[in-house]
């Protein structure tokens, strides 16, 4: 079996090498990916279409916003699937937890907890900054959401899981993840009801006191906030469930 696997790996590797001789020159202006009207449009007209200086954010959240909506849904699915598989129900849920050696909860360390106490506000503030500044600099909902989610996980690491769950229970986390999707898809649906296509943010200018381009600008922030909701909460929910095999108790 090992030999078969090796042969397959070598074959795929050989295919990749075979294709490599045909690659376009790195960064060449005439390579299809650079010369296509699509790339040219992104580079020349992103600012005209959306007023957003950061091209990457515009492509991600507006031009290809439909993809990003489903990427957010993928994260939501991951959270739901893990909870659905691990959650114990009925008699199974009442059975006492098997005491493992690692379950013996040590007192939270003074130095660690105090450091974390100092760190968390800064981390969360930075998360908001990354989220809100995604239009201009690298960043956005996914990155901001991950940083925000990490702050909750840090609470669980420094103290124990119940303390973190006091602040954000798993059920509430999944609810907020759903709210994130609702924000994203809701903005899309709302722009459709205003007369455009699904996710056609420009139509929001009918209700916002701004131009069509600025409506796209603001709607992008809106969908990024939705993404951040989902990413933050799902990160934490996955951590809480995986680290305790769905029991949601004890330390690490």
């Amino acid at each position: 079996m090992k030999k078969v696997a090796l042969a397959v790996t070598l074959f795929i590797g050989a295919l990749l090498l075979y294709a490599a001789k045909d690659f376009s020159v790195w960064g060449h202006l005439q390579s299809p990916a650079s010369a296509s009207p699509v790339s040219k449009h992104f580079i020349a007209d992103t600012g005209v279409d959306t007023e957003v200086p950061n091209m990457v954010t515009a492509v991600l959240a507006d031009y290809r916003g439909f993809d990003t909506m489903f990427e957010t849904v993928v994260i939501f699915i991951a959270g739901i699937a893990i909870i659905a598989i691990l959650r114990r129900t009925g008699a199974d849920a009442d059975s006492p937890a098997i005491q493992r050696e690692s379950d013996v909860v040590a007192e939270p360390d003074l130095i660690v907890t105090n450091t974390v106490r100092l760190l968390i506000p800064v981390i969360q503030l930075f998360a908001f900054y990354v989220l809100a500044h995604g239009h201009v600099s690298p960043g956005g909902g996914f990155q901001g959401g991950v940083i925000m989610g990490a702050s909750f996980i840090l609470v669980a690491l420094a103290w124990d899981l119940p303390k973190a769950l006091d602040r954000l229970s798993v059920d509430r986390a999944i609810m907020l993840a759903g709210v994130g999707i609702l924000i994203y898809a809701g903005i899309g649906l709302f722009s459709m009801l205003l007369g455009g296509e699904f996710l056609d943010y420009a139509e929001l200018s009918h209700v916002l006191p701004v131009s069509r381009e600025m409506a796209r600008y603001h709607a992008m922030l809106g969908v990024e906030i939705g993404v951040a909701f989902t990413v933050t909460t799902v990160m934490f929910a996955i951590y809480a469930n995986l680290s305790t095999r769905g029991r949601l108790e004890g330390g690490l």
């Binding site: 390579s31 299809p32 290809r64 598989i85 649906l189």
Partner: protein
């Protein structure tokens, strides 16, 4: 709203899924009505889309998300959904099957996954969203994203099953992820060589630049895309995940996934071959008009796939397990119909996607009822079932007859086109495999019918002597039909099998309109 019908097809289940996740914990009873209602809405939007496609001049309707339409901006700036006859029909099958399964699912879900209804229905609806999206999208990368949506929800839905489901899912996760990675790698190469992700754009670029036909990166992209999709559809050497995953999955999951997932992946293959790479690139040799190496090799692989899967199905002693192997064999049929490279073969292949989805649904719905009544799907548990549940078993038999290919079920007509295609392309090995597999299915289903009617034991001993009380205790044979919420979807699906069979010409006409421009060979000779 009519012009937004394409967006509504998946907006309904998407929002339904979120509501199920939001309210599922507090009020699990809401989830089933939400699912059925949102899928009914999606079905309505789907039918409206078909009406618009038929009414449109070019027989296709485009929808540009975010308003990035092709008139004002270069095509491919935004994401396009393109509904032509092929995609629309597959989408209708997906949404229709999902609607019936959602209707059917009330009792099984409450019994098999208690306290998790919200999560289950959420994943269920997102699965439908993903599959319906796959069948309409006109963007190669968006297709990947939707494949991921469908795959991840599938893993979750299967793993919620019996104790061994988790191990079965793990195999699926590994193979599914490898398959998706291959597809993504292929799309990456495509983008590098063509500079766009829009399917129309890619096809245009390949037609305009003839030098691409000899390009190594393009050929590798082709191989990777095909390989990825073949893994995803459980084509023979890559089928190992399917039987155990579908066998251990909860009833509702296997009813939804078995008819749809493999079929939608075959649709993806047809979509990529015809409308992304184009017929010239996919099927023809660059130097002469002969078929390329793929049209030589793949039909033989198909033969191997059909023979092995049919033989393995023959060895099973459990209805559900047997059906999972039949799915693998049917995948072989459809892949073969594509690669014999013939107009009628392709019609047969697409038509078989539709009819196989309907008849597999019919069979799995029936097996779900058997499992609920007898707590087992082993052959021994089938004795005397016809007396107990005559309507359920009639529906189940109609599905079985369609798999065998008896007229007037739809399975007969799709197989007819497959065989015609194979004959005209002179791929006799494919015909032999088809015939062999048909014989196997006759054996399989008549063996079942015998057991269900006559109470034969595993060793072949006829303890009922063909009449009387079948030598079973009265409690096993008195009339005890399945609950209506499960029986009606089953009978409806059996009805659909017959209706599609009777009105097969209408479906084929739509497919002919779609396939005519591709100039596939219609006559004999390769």
């Amino acid at each position: 709203m009519s012009e937004n019908s394409i967006a509504l097809i998946f907006a309904f289940p998407l929002f339904g899924a979120v509501f199920c996740a939001l309210f599922g914990r507090k009020s699990p009873n809401l989830c089933h009505p939400i699912s059925v209602a949102s899928l009914a809405g999606a079905l309505g939007a789907g039918i409206e889309t078909l009406r618009r496609v038929i009414a449109s001049e070019a027989n296709e309707v485009s929808y540009f998300f975010g308003g990035w339409n092709a008139d004002a901006y270069p095509r491919g700036v935004g994401i396009e959904f393109r509904a032509d006859y092929l995609g629309t029909l597959i989408m209708l099958v997906v949404v229709g099957v999902a609607f019936l399964v959602a209707w059917y699912s009330k009792l099984p879900v409450a019994e098999e996954t208690p306290e998790k209804e919200g999560y289950f229905y959420s994943l269920f609806l997102l699965q439908v969203t993903g599959l319906a999206g796959i069948s309409l999208t006109g963007d190669a990368f968006n297709l990947y994203v939707l494949i991921e949506v469908a795959a991840l929800t599938g893993y979750g839905l299967i793993a919620m099953g019996s104790a061994r489901a988790a191990a079965a899912t793990f195999k699926y996760v590994i193979l599914g992820t490898i398959g998706a990675s291959f597809y993504l790698l292929g799309v990456g190469y495509l983008y590098m060589k063509t500079g766009t992700l829009n399917m129309v754009g890619i096809e245009q670029f390949i037609t305009d630049n003839e030098s691409l036909a000899d390009s190594a990166a393009m050929q590798v992209a082709f191989v990777f895309v095909c390989l990825g999709v073949l893994m995803k559809m459980a084509f023979f050497p890559f089928h190992a995940w399917l039987p155990s995953a579908y066998f251990h999955a909860p009833t509702t999951t296997s009813c939804l996934l078995a008819p749809l997932v493999t079929k939608v992946m075959i649709y993806v293959m047809i979509r990529m071959l015809l409308t992304v790479f184009g017929v010239e690139f996919s099927f023809k040799n660059t130097h002469d008009d002969e078929g390329n190496i793929w049209t030589e090799v793949l039909p033989w692989l198909v033969v191997l796939a059909i023979l092995c899967a049919a033989t393995m199905a023959l060895a099973q002693r459990d209805v559900k397990k047997m059906l999972t192997y039949l799915i693998v064999a049917e995948v072989g049929y459809m892949v073969g119909g594509v690669w014999v490279y013939n107009y009628y073969g392709l019609i047969g292949s697409i038509f078989h996607i539709i009819s196989d989805a309907c008849m597999t649904l019919c069979l799995f719905l029936g097996v779900g009822i058997i499992l609920r009544k007898r707590k087992t799907t082993h052959f021994d548990g089938l004795r005397g079932l016809f007396r107990k549940m005559p309507f359920t078993m009639t529906g189940f038999f109609i599905g079985g007859f369609s798999i065998i290919g008896l007229p007037p079920t739809c399975g007969f007509f799709s197989k007819w086109y497959l065989i015609t295609g194979g004959m005209l392309a002179e791929r006799w090995e494919y015909i032999v495999a088809l015939m062999f597999s048909t014989m196997v299915m006759v054996v399989l289903f008549f063996r079942l019918i015998e057991r269900i009617h006559l109470a034969v034991t595993e060793s072949g001993e006829n303890i009922g002597h063909g009449h009387g009380d079948l030598a079973l205790p009265k409690s096993e044979t008195f009339f005890d039909e399945a609950p209506l919420s499960m029986l009606i979807p089953l009978l409806l699906s059996a009805g659909v099998v017959l209706v599609i069979g009777v009105f097969n010409q209408d479906v084929v006409n739509l497919l002919q309109d779609f396939l005519e421009p591709f100039n596939l060979p219609k006559g004999t000779g390769r």
